[in-house]
Symmetry: C2
Subunit: 216 residues, 2 copies
DNA sequence: CCATGCCAATCTGTATACTGATGTTGGCGT
DNA sequence: ACGCCAACATCAGTATACAGATTGGCATGG
């Protein structure tokens, strides 16, 4: 199964670890050592090094003197990314509105249903998973590749931040509310409404973050 | 002089060739061969490979079966980048408005003066150089690092497109007009005015491009 | 018991060697 | 002459080996 993307070893390793990073499967304690990963894939250090260096340059990892690890974003850096999101995501979501298929909308509704259920269960991990699914669905519908890639780039970098804010009850409720409105807006194929909704969504996310991290 | 950025060989080579690419010193006919560059720097292939692969992943180069070369952007890809510019540059320039120093404004005025002179001389290369200087000045004033890096990333990719449109007389006049207005807007420290100006600027650039490349 | 300095382990950066894929050229056949 | 095929050349991907740097531990001394 891991040998699906097998054109080049380094690409296979890159995609494997990109997926693990985007799914939040790497924690801050983990140290990614090229030699260890090379052993896992039964290859030499070189393709692993290529993949890790690429992930580092893209901002997913940080190169330390002792292996690669998740980067520790500073408070201002995170606020900078919120500004980028504010500029890009509303327009991107609006562009995706016309592109989403019926299957996409069904999957979206299903993910939002799972999101709503977490209000009762309190299952933060399920909320996180549903939230990721929802975002993945609409982002994949963005027709502008350059825009989509740019969004995907910084999304993974602030994954850790998101996971933290989800534990807050008020943020949890707000997030689910937005999820519900997204279904409605996307189903209505109303680009302008989607654009406004996503602007409010990003602003609400930033506000949640600022409220929970008043430092600096 | 080439050994100024000497922390790591690969970084030095990366920065050297990034500069050459951003200054447009690499043409479409050139083939960058790691072995040849390694000889030029008197190092092995590895750090050169690292640098070229990094430039490739960032979109500055394209990896072919026969060396690395400038990528051939397709028509839709270029239009996608114009959309990104439309979303980011107005806000970025507005943010830079408050950050530019008096020295920056002086340099800006000087560069615009050089731009104006090309209206008489018709020196396209000087226009290109002035245009790059102007952009470099305001972009370096953008306080949001993530935003600035994102803009810099795609700027270099469409360098070839810019160079092409400059040969058009109407575009030339339009460009110089915008340069004049930029000086005025930045000097007035009017963020809203700058934002609107840059939105019109990007739109005008896109319009010029569409007019000169009606294909597809 | 704690501080300081040295040593060893660890991991990345760089060098060299080999392999495989792809394009190119020249020769052969029609 | 023209087209096809095969041998060759070129260059990126991968493997292995070595060097340099930083960190953590251990020992020694206060």
């Amino acid at each position: 199964m891991t040998e699906r993307p097998k054109r080049h070893i380094k690409d296979a390793i890159y995609e494997t670890y990109l997926g693990r990073l985007q799914r939040g499967e790497i924690s801050h304690e983990d140290r990614l050592i090229d030699l260890a990963i090379a052993e896992e894939f039964a290859v030499s250090r070189m393709p692993v090094r290529d993949a890790l260096m690429r992930l580092t340059h893209e901002g997913y990892l940080e190169s330390t003197t002792r292996g690669f690890a998740l980067p520790n974003l500073s408070h201002p850096q995170i606020l900078e990314i919120f500004e980028l999101r504010r500029l890009l995501e509303p327009r991107a979501a609006a562009l995706a509105t016309a592109e989403l298929t019926e299957a996409d909308l069904d999957a979206l509704a299903a993910a939002v249903a799972r999101s709503e259920q977490t209000l009762e269960s309190g299952d933060v991990e399920a909320l996180y998973a549903a939230s990721e699914d929802i975002r993945r669905i609409w982002i994949m519908g963005v027709p502008n590749t350059a825009l989509r890639e740019t969004i995907l780039r910084y999304i993974a970098q602030i994954q850790c931040v998101r996971l933290a804010t989800l534990h807050d009850a008020a943020s949890h409720q707000t997030l689910v509310d937005f999820h519900r409105q997204m279904v409605s807006a996307f189903n209505g194929r109303n680009g302008a409404q989607v654009e406004l909704l996503f602007l409010r969504f990003v602003l609400a996310g930033e506000e949640s973050y600022r409220r929970l991290h008043p430092d600096s």
